[in-house]
């Protein structure tokens, strides 16, 4: 067999839906279960890795349930798979259960809302490289924007379970309260520190909320909230690590803050993808070449989606 890859089995697998819960106006949490080879592959899923879901044959919701701004998009027959990262992985009785947090934004996620318990979906994954934990860190700072919360929830769980020496703190941002992808978001676990999100609290991770319009928590961009917090932080930059996922503009700001304060920083990037497996070369991320002014394009799917913030060239 002519084969130079050592990669594990990446499917395609069939996963069976166990729940598809609406958790906000446009937010859902899809829970999927894998058995046998799929369970084995996804059991080792790292926070930040992703998978490609084939939703082309998933039906649309009835027209009365299609939001007005998506009526035109819903008409489009989709072709390509869609990449999603995961907010949780549970291994139980030889089965692997995974959660995907998603927001309804177009024809594919609209179709996704009609998946219900017992349905199956074809998945290629796990794909890409997840977040990694360098030695010697004492504090992990998780900065999320909108839907970017998903993989950082998974990371919070892994940090708590496997990295006892590291304290994690989450900074969750969105445009408005309604766009925070959390359930029971403002349960007042710790009013003194701002707002605390149950999703992070269950891993013992403190969280601060920021909304651009001030409808919840800190009024302003989450990066401002984060910056202010850093100004009061007790630890040296080398003891901390920043993990971030969200809109690219926010990631650029996070990278800038990290650089200024000399804090290691990993960013989960997003690109339009066709294959997700390193073939199509669509999802290029411009990266600096060490010690030179030249840049190269790395592939978000295979080289990322998590990158060291120092590598990324952000378009202004």
């Amino acid at each position: 067999m002519a084969k130079n890859h050592s990669a594990a089995n990446r499917g395609p697998f069939n996963a069976v839906i166990s729940a598809n819960k609406q958790i906000g106006q446009r937010f859902y949490r899809l829970s999927l279960g894998f058995e046998s080879a799929g369970a084995k592959a996804f059991a080792k899923l790292k926070p930040g890795q992703f998978a490609q879901l084939d939703l082309a044959d998933t039906p649309l919701p009835p027209s009365k349930d299609i939001p007005e701004d998506l009526v035109d998009a819903a008409r489009r027959k989709i072709l390509l798979r869609r990449p999603f990262s995961f907010s949780d992985v549970i291994n139980k009785d030889r089965k692997t259960l995974v959660d995907i947090l998603y927001r309804v934004v177009g024809p594919a996620t609209l179709r996704m809302t009609t998946l219900s318990a017992g349905d199956s979906v074809n998945i290629i994954g796990p794909l890409g490289n997840g977040f990694w934990v360098p030695r010697g860190k004492k504090q992990a700072l998780l900065v999320t924007g909108g839907m970017g919360a998903g993989p950082l929830l998974h990371l919070a769980k892994v940090l708590t379970a496997d990295h006892h020496g590291i304290e994690a703190i989450a900074f969750a941002g969105a445009k408005t309260e309604k766009e925070l992808p959390f359930e029971g978001q403002l349960d007042e676990i710790s009013q003194e520190l701002g707002f605390s999100l149950a999703e992070f609290a269950r891993y013992g991770v403190e969280s601060l909320v920021a909304t651009d319009d001030g409808s919840a928590g800190f009024a302003g961009p989450v990066t401002d909230c984060f910056s202010e917090w850093l100004g009061r932080a007790g630890l040296a930059g080398k003891d901390m690590i920043i993990y971030s996922c969200g809109p690219e503009q926010m990631l650029a700001k996070v990278a800038e803050i990290a650089e200024k304060r000399n804090i290691d920083c990993q960013l989960s990037m997003e690109r339009m993808m066709a294959c997700g497996i390193g073939i199509c070369q669509s999802c290029a991320v411009e990266c600096k070449v060490n010690g030179s002014s030249e840049t190269v394009y790395k592939m978000c799917c295979e080289d990322g989606p998590v990158f060291d913030a120092k590598e990324i060239v952000f378009s202004s």
Partner: protein
């Protein structure tokens, strides 16, 4: 029962185990799909475009999905000839499919140089001359839409290619594809590959700008299949049939039924492209599906099917 069906084909003098290829740019340089499918089940394999020097490719977004299709404007991002020879050829040597290297460049000399460097490599069956890529500023489609230039570049690369098969990949973005096909064949092309993608644009109505950084891209996928079938049939009738030139048909093939349509239209073999992105194992499935079709239709040799289009 299936042994009774012979789906092997003669393609410009070489024997292929079956008529199914994977198309350039949709299957990597060598065995990148091997994690998902048996690459040795393929009849043929066409590498990503190779240029003399490595190319970074275009800025992003490089793709956008459309109704039953997608636009791409990758811009020949590739590792370059030297790295291809060093890293990929050893893997290609072990592949059982007939491997064609897709050759690209900004000048005729560059195309010829790539072919010349690889002409002595036993692992390679031949070349696919990319004079139809719509996503680069220099080269590609600028050569493929003018018959005089097609003649010039085909002759130059034919000379450089030595004994290897030279297949010319045609652009559908021309007034009369047969004029270009004829120019390629008369200049020495051993086979024709058609079609490349259709130049297209998607506009973001919120910003009023094209979605792709390159502004335009090449449309592929099921959306283009009926046009591609028509063009294959046209070139088969007007150019290829009488000259005994095989056609590699492509454009939106996802299923065995799609592949059979192209073969009936006049293709000796077919290439699966965009579908590899969605279903990496689909080319192998198509091989099996073609066999089943032949059994059902009592066809014992697939060559009975090539160009068998019934009219009237």
């Amino acid at each position: 029962m299936e042994e009774a069906v012979d789906i092997s084909v003669d393609f410009a003098g070489i024997r292929l185990a079956n008529p199914v290829f994977t198309a350039s740019g949709t299957c990597g340089y060598a065995d990148e799909l091997a994690d998902f499918t048996d690459v040795n089940a393929l009849g043929g394999f066409i590498t990503k475009s190779i240029t003399l020097k490595p190319k970074k490719g275009n800025a992003t977004p490089r793709i956008v999905e459309t109704d039953s299709g997608m636009l791409n404007a990758i811009g020949w991002a590739n590792i370059g000839l030297d790295k291809f020879i060093e890293e990929k050829l050893p893997i290609i040597e072990k592949m059982s499919a007939a491997v064609f290297v897709n050759v690209a460049g900004e000048s005729i000399d560059e195309y010829a140089a790539v072919a010349e460097h690889l002409a002595g490599e036993a692992a390679i069956a031949g070349f696919e001359l990319n004079i139809s890529c719509p996503n680069v500023a220099k080269g590609g489609i600028t050569f493929g839409t003018d018959a005089v230039q097609v003649t010039e570049i085909t002759s130059a690369v034919k000379k450089a290619a030595g004994e290897k098969i030279l297949m010319v990949k045609l652009s559908p973005n021309v007034t009369d594809i047969s004029v270009i096909a004829r120019a390629a064949v008369e200049a020495g092309a051993d086979a024709l590959s058609l079609v490349n993608t259709f130049t297209a644009m998607v506009i973001d109505i919120e910003t009023g700008k094209p979605v792709l950084a390159n502004k335009t891209g090449g449309l592929s996928g099921p959306a283009i299949k009926p046009i591609a079938v028509y063009l294959v049939n046209k070139v088969y009738n007007e150019v290829a049939k009488n000259r005994g030139i095989p056609i590699l048909g492509s454009g939106g093939i996802r299923t065995a039924s799609d592949a059979v349509e192209f073969i009936i239209a006049g293709a000796t073999a077919v290439a699966v492209g965009t579908a590899n992105f969605i279903e990496p194992g689909c080319a192998a499935k198509i091989v099996e599906g073609i066999k089943k079709y032949c059994v059902r239709k009592k066809i014992t040799n697939i060559k009975e099917l090539t160009g068998s289009l019934g009219i009237g």
